[in-house]
């Protein structure tokens, strides 16, 4: 256990696995490209060697050499670019290591200073907390990058925060932005970018046997039917869908049915059956619903989700966002039986909560005294569904004293409370209950022995 109870350095590595996994996967992919590039060049070298031997005249040889020079120049240029990509990715890993080293140094110096004065301790403690504040901001950036699907990339809140905090090397934002772009285009009903990406990553998709290719081709086919471009629809069906007939028979069957029913006629039929609304027609309308579902916009959402799942997995990005995982764990480990959580399901807009917070009355109440994150106005709805923490021992205060109303406080703080709030009214012998505002005599205090 380190200062302030944070995890060890090695445990932090575990927590940040993905921040090393993501650049690693990118370096690996880059390596595979280099591998292809190299293999092509090796083949070419062999060919050139052969044709050099074969060629008799100087002209012939010069021609081969010229060819070689062109090929080498292009090879050099490509390899240099790939190497630059790799260097950049490695430098990201190095930055992440330096960030962790910072924590290591802080913890070391904190342990040295522990025995020293209180004031220096405060500052070191704040420095360690600052490191965790930075981590929190990184988690927020990661979350915002993924969830802020604004069409204009520059408007992405996560990207803005990333730039203003200058942490470009600590987050693989470029990799997330690519998936946002593709996901956005899918949601707008445009499959071009998705298909291009699938072509680039054919071998990976084949390896994991995903449903993505079939679903994308099916969607392409549906789009063509929607546009009533029957000729291309049939050719797409033959070229891309037919091969799935063994594994996806049901869906293929419905898809082929679309050649007869166009979207409009399906809608009409469905409406007709709805009006009749008889039990007998249930089967019929169910069948028609299968067809009409294919034209629904939800398919874009489904496809985008499917794509993101695969993209994240391929890149080593966790599918549950770490920010949400920490929120869930953090609230549970902080939540006590005394926390006031709201069961309301209505989610108020930010401005409303902010105004409520700004105008909260300045009267002492248990909530305003405790400043507990779990029962705070902005968190208490989220806390409602999460479990309580478990405690094996009591966490109280020194010198507990009880007032006649049964409320128990820290004696020193209770004595100074009244004087702090109403210095003119309260003399040495009077007390104010901070919760109920009742006034008591100092000799009514009872010393308690809770443990």
């Amino acid at each position: 256990m380190s200062l302030l109870g944070g995890p060890s350095l090695d445990f932090h590595l575990k927590l940040q696995e993905s921040s090393f996994r993501v650049p690693y996967e990118a370096i690996r992919r880059n390596f595979r490209t280099i591998q292809k590039l190299d293999e092509r060049e090796l083949k070419k070298i062999e060919e050139i060697k052969k044709s050099l031997k074969k060629s008799k005249t100087k002209e012939e040889k010069d021609k081969v050499k010229k060819q070689l020079l062109i090929s080498l120049r292009s090879f050099e240029k490509k390899l240099k670019a790939r190497k630059a990509t790799e260097d950049e990715l490695i430098s990201r890993i190095n930055c992440r290591i330096s960030k962790l080293k910072e924590l290591d140094e802080l913890q070391k110096s904190a342990n040295l200073i522990k025995s020293s004065t209180e004031e220096v301790g405060e500052i070191t403690k704040d420095k360690v907390l600052n490191w965790y504040r930075d981590q929190t901001n990184l988690l927020i950036i990661g979350y915002l990058l993924k969830t802020n699907l604004s069409i204009d990339e520059e408007q992405n809140l996560g990207l803005k925060l990333l730039k203003s905090l200058k942490v470009e090397r600590l987050i693989d934002y470029d990799i997330i932005l690519i998936s946002n772009r593709i996901s956005n285009s899918i949601l707008r009903g445009n499959l071009t970018e998705l298909v291009a990406w699938m072509n680039e990553n054919k071998s990976y998709l084949g390896k994991i046997k995903s449903d993505l290719e079939f679903q994308t081709r099916l969607q392409e086919y549906i789009e063509l039917i929607r546009d009533q471009d029957m000729k291309r629809a049939v050719s797409t069906f033959n070229n891309h869908l037919k091969s799935f007939s063994k594994t996806k028979f049901d869906e293929i069957q419905i898809a082929s049915g679309l050649l007869i029913f166009n979207p409009l006629s399906i809608k009409e039929m469905l409406n007709k059956h709805k009006k009749k609304d008889g039990f007998k027609n249930n089967l019929v309308s169910k069948t028609f619903k299968k067809y009409s579902d294919l034209f629904s916009n939800e398919r874009y959402e489904y496809l985008s989700k499917l794509f993101l799942q695969i993209y994240y997995k391929m890149n080593g990005i966790p599918d549950n966002d770490p920010l949400l995982v920490y929120l869930s764990l953090g609230i549970s480990s902080l939540k006590t039986k005394a926390c006031q959580c709201s069961s309301s399901r209505e989610i108020l807009p930010f401005e409303t909560v902010l105004n409520a917070k700004l105008n909260k009355e300045d009267i002492p109440s248990p909530q305003s005294i405790s400043k507990c994150p779990v029962c705070s106005m902005e968190v208490n709805q989220l806390s409602y569904e999460l479990p309580y923490s478990h405690n094996e021992r009591s966490y109280l205060f020194d010198n507990p004293v009880m007032l006649p109303n049964g409320n128990i406080f820290d004696k020193t703080k209770l004595l100074s409370f009244a004087k702090l709030k109403h210095p003119d009214v309260f003399n040495e012998n009077k007390l104010l209950d901070p919760i109920t505002s009742e006034v008591f005599d100092i000799n009514q205090l009872v010393i308690m022995f809770p443990t």
Binding site: P7, F11, L42, I140, M448
Partner: protein, 365 residues
Amino acid sequence: MSHNQFDVLVEEVNKLNELNYIQTLTDTRALIESLEDDQENDDDLDQLLTNLSQSITKDLKQNNTKLNKFNKNFLLKIDLDLNDYYRYPIPSKNLKLVQNIINFHLLRIGDLNKFDNKLGNQLYEMKSLKDSIDYNHDLNPIINWYYNNDYKDKDEERDLLFEFKLHRLNYLKLMNQNKIKQGLNYSRIWFPLIIKKNQDYLFEISKLMGQFIISNNEENNVSNLDLDFKELSILFVKKFCQRINIEYESFLFLIIFAGICSFPTFNKFLQLKNSNSFQWSSLKELPFETPLPLFLKQYHPIFICPVSKEEINDENPGMSLPCHHIISKSSLLKLSKNGLTNFKCVYCSTSCSLSDCKIVKFYFI
């Protein structure tokens, strides 16, 4: 403290850093230059081509090995599936709440979203005042703020300690800059005001003035104020937040920090229980204690009944016995057989009856 995994990481990354594809690039360049010169004989050319082939193969093999080792020796060893820890998922209907919490945090950290409202403006002011300490070591804006702020009157008892630290540092800064006369003038204006409020500061202040007289060695004093400025910067932010009645720390930060701190305990538990066999996701209370730094345990008092070991709550409150020991209501009912009999306190054997006991509640101030 040894960091096995961390050391492995550093070692493996150093290997990754080493001269990647350098041999291939060098040999390619050599070949290009030789072709450009057009001076080589056929054997030379053949040799250069062979060299390049060998370098390409060697570089590829080397890099492949390095990457495999990085994965095997480091990545696979720190493998941790976050999904295993997401037993209480945040329902998607609540993601808007998460966005609200993030917005509050963004407001707290300053310049990004300048929300046009009172709090936004106040926090903006706080940030610029803090900047004046952090970057310019200039305390005058803060002194101005301290005495002229709208919220001054609310702050009934002036924070004398804060005031003293502020003037002490400003005085030391002048002395450090060798502005002795100004410094002494400054001390004559402010320090008597503080002593007048609380004579306890007389000792501190005379110590401070004495230091100046005794140590005339300037170098000794100079450069030691960095820590003081940092401390004051923290104190100032705390003071500012207290005055505008908002929390010093962002709640989101505190929650995330608590999540990070408790993570190793969840990890240990998962390894013990072999995760799937034990469904802690169905429980209303975590099945184990997650140790947190003490300052995260200061929001609500927690009382564990010494008899039943249960945490008291509204349904099962703490009860004070006549001897001023405390047990939970359910334990009290059990011991007194629903109030039918007297019983002895588990601590001191005082004889108690249900009617002598009363409900208590703990509060932090």
